[in-house]
Chain length 445, copies 2
């Protein structure tokens, strides 16, 4: 009998792994159980469907179940929820929501790619039908269905991270009044306060009413109760982070780590022989802090899935980790970050210096030149570049990729200043803003 790979979850990590495994092991029996209705999609695109820039959720699907089945012989079973893993018997128990029955299936290799779900705080009314998380296409379909049906015109977004801000923009485009409530004192907790401030200013300029330091207390039909009084709301979007779907793994005796995500090694092996994990349910190694962290991003999921797929098909690959790069666009405002911010640098044990500079995205005299603010964090003494944060307009955010390469290479500020970056008036000032920042910061090292 053919060796069998069971994959739990048929999105980014799971299907990247299955594709790699199929390529290397034509003989393998690959079964993927997906509790939802969609496979292999770009969850990052959801805000743009809600905002109307992308036509439909179907546009976000990279590979349909039919394509996976026909082209790659991956036996994808939608609305099949794995409810338990028996690692001793090497078997999973699956609830089939199509036929309303339960089944068991044995595996030789198991990949857990069960993803994460929007964190739902334990508050009165949290299960109300107008309160939506946005993590899967099923979530998005529910949200869109209700928004269209109720013609939502008053939206409250809870949480001021990437998803919260992107959804706030989406509902601005939709034409709604958007209020954003954030419990801490700043938006975008992965940015330092001095960079979160211009992000907030930009978001407010675009028309979102932002309230920081405000706690949500309860959800009622038509309104959200907060520490700052009630807010009217036809629709509530939760953007307060995600929780890895790892209860089942934990019950099977698989070790968890930071924020309850699954501990893996560099080849995506879990603590149980023959069981692998990848994507939003697993930990990632941070190459600068040198700690294992829970980072739920599509790029990471795809890359980890790929590594898992190669390894479980008897190949060899390692996931070298992340440096914490992320970019986002909220209306005309672009934000990007990579490496460690000041708080993270301190936590990781680095003494550091930092600077913030203002510049422009193109030569000052060139049409379309827009403001850009760059913050750099470097190690005291060595000058090693530890992190960068960027807020600006068109052409700003992509510059974090250069910093990501610089940080990965372990370059110091001198090396950054000495980089031979491209210059022409439509692309940057003579001195690129990241180089200007490095030059200023060099004086403090």
């Amino acid at each position: 009998m053919a060796e069998r790979l069971i994959v739990i979850g048929a999105d980014a990590a799971g299907m990247s792994a299955a594709s790699q495994a199929r390529r290397r092991r034509p003989d393998l029996d690959i079964v993927a159980f997906e509790k939802g209705n969609w496979t292999s999609y770009s969850a990052c695109g959801i805000p743009y469907v809600v905002g109307g820039e992308v036509d439909s959720l179907e546009d976000l699907v990279a590979r349909t179940p039919q394509e996976l089945r026909n082209k790659q012989r991956i036996d994808v079973r939608l609305r099949h929820e794995v409810v338990s893993i028996d690692p001793v018997a090497a078997r999973v128990t699956v609830r089939d929501h199509v036929h309303h029955r339960e089944l068991q299936l044995g595996y030789d290799q198991l990949l857990i790619a069960s993803g994460a779900r929007p964190t739902r705080p334990d508050l009165p009314g949290i299960d109300g039908e107008s309160v939506h998380g946005v993590q899967t296409l099923d979530d998005a379909a529910n949200l869109l269905g209700q928004a269209r049906q109720s013609r939502s015109s008053r939206v409250v977004v809870v949480g001021g991270g990437y998803i919260g801000l992107e959804m706030a923009e989406a509902f601005l485009r939709w034409g709604a009044d958007v209020h954003l409530v954030e419990g801490s004192d700043q938006l975008m907790s992965t940015f330092d306060p001095d960079m979160a401030a211009p992000i907030r200013a930009a978001v407010e300029r675009h028309g979102v009413v932002v309230r920081t330091g405000v706690q949500v207390q309860a959800f009622e039909p038509g309104r959200v109760l907060t520490s700052d009084g009630p807010l009217e709301a036809d629709l509530v979007v939760l953007g307060i982070g995600v929780t890895p779907n790892t209860e089942m793994a934990s019950a099977a005796g698989i070790e968890l780590g930071h924020r309850g995500a699954i501990k893996v090694d560099r080849r995506q092996r879990t603590s149980r022989q023959g069981v692998w994990a990848a994507g939003d349910c697993a930990l990632s190694f941070h190459r600068v802090s040198e700690r294992w962290q829970h980072i739920a991003l599509g790029t990471v999921a795809n890359r980890q899935g790929r590594v898992a797929g190669i390894n479980l098909a008897s190949g060899y690959a390692t996931f070298p980790g992340v440096v914490g790069t992320a970019v986002s666009k909220i209306c005309a405002t672009e934000v990007g970050r990579t490496g460690l911010n000041e708080t993270e640098a301190t936590t990781a044990g680095f003494e550091h210096v930092s600077t913030v500079v203002e510049s422009t995205t193109r030569a000052g005299y060139f049409p379309g030149s827009r403001p850009i603010t760059v913050k750099l964090v470097a190690e005291r003494g060595s000058g090693r570049v530890l992190g960068g944060q960027i807020v600006g307009e068109e052409g700003a955010a992509n510059r974090v990729d250069v910093l990501a390469a610089v940080i990965t290479a372990g370059m110091d500020l001198e090396a950054l200043v000495d980089l031979d970056l491209g210059y022409a008036p439509p692309f940057s000032p003579l001195w690129d803003p990241v180089v200007v920042a490095a030059r200023v910061l060099l004086k403090q090292v």
Copy 2:
């Protein structure tokens, strides 16, 4: 008596050096002789003034003679042409075109920042008044004056490099019929033929009539004679490269190298004690080929000038060299390159592999997603990234900066694939095009 620095040429290299020197040595007597009428300007911006995107040549000036004089106490003398250097007596002879006289002045330190001039082939009619090079603001003022006076509607550009293509675009915007004549078989000689082809296609799509493999034979009033027949022309723009202004340095016994540019060491010292050189008249060290080359770019001029200024004011700085990065925009088409192309890799002694991939600048489903073509060159065996070339539309060219960092760090293709680059649908596909290229090329190493 105060120590005196004489600077020959008051543009990018010269004024960067003078500023650094002033900062470190308040006591220094700094005299700058500039044979033209302008100081410290962005020559790279000239095509955009001609094309009307930037209002006037004055917009390109970073610091006027008055500012240099008043704020930095740099004694700038316009229309003063240094005609000879006596390194034994440590003295220069200067022709003062304002007062029509000659003067001599002694120096303690001398910086040669005499720049380069557009190469003028020795052809009949080359000195005709409608034949223009474009290197200085004076050149640009002449060109604009004639173009406006004659309402030029038929323009022939000779040479298909960066300046040629940018000037071709400028005259398209101007509303002229633009013909571009290139003697070799391809445009953009710093790109490999397979990447020059899409550049040519784009330029032709924008409306330029391109003729490659065609030799110019003579310039006559109203037309250009070529090996492919005559072309009507109210105005001719030369874009066939530049020649360093080093005759005077050579006459003073200062050693020249590649293409007649001045030999310098990493601190910008020439072969004569107390004489420094920087900018378009000097050589640059190429960090990948490890050869000294003549590269006339504003960024290099500024950086070399800065290094020279620090050193001649008793500081310490070195210019680490370039990796050959350049970007340009021709209408909607963006081009960028860094490192070595295939020909350069071969010349430098590298055995190499290469690949070309097609992708998009944003997620395929995202509005405004445009085509991008990426070519990567890597060393056979080691997989070390040697060079990259990019042709695409909005958002394409800046990606060479990541490759410039990768090449500078000596990373291989695996390291490039493993970079944690930012992803969001408005910025790139899930796999950045440069990563896709690296992954494809890995199979060939």
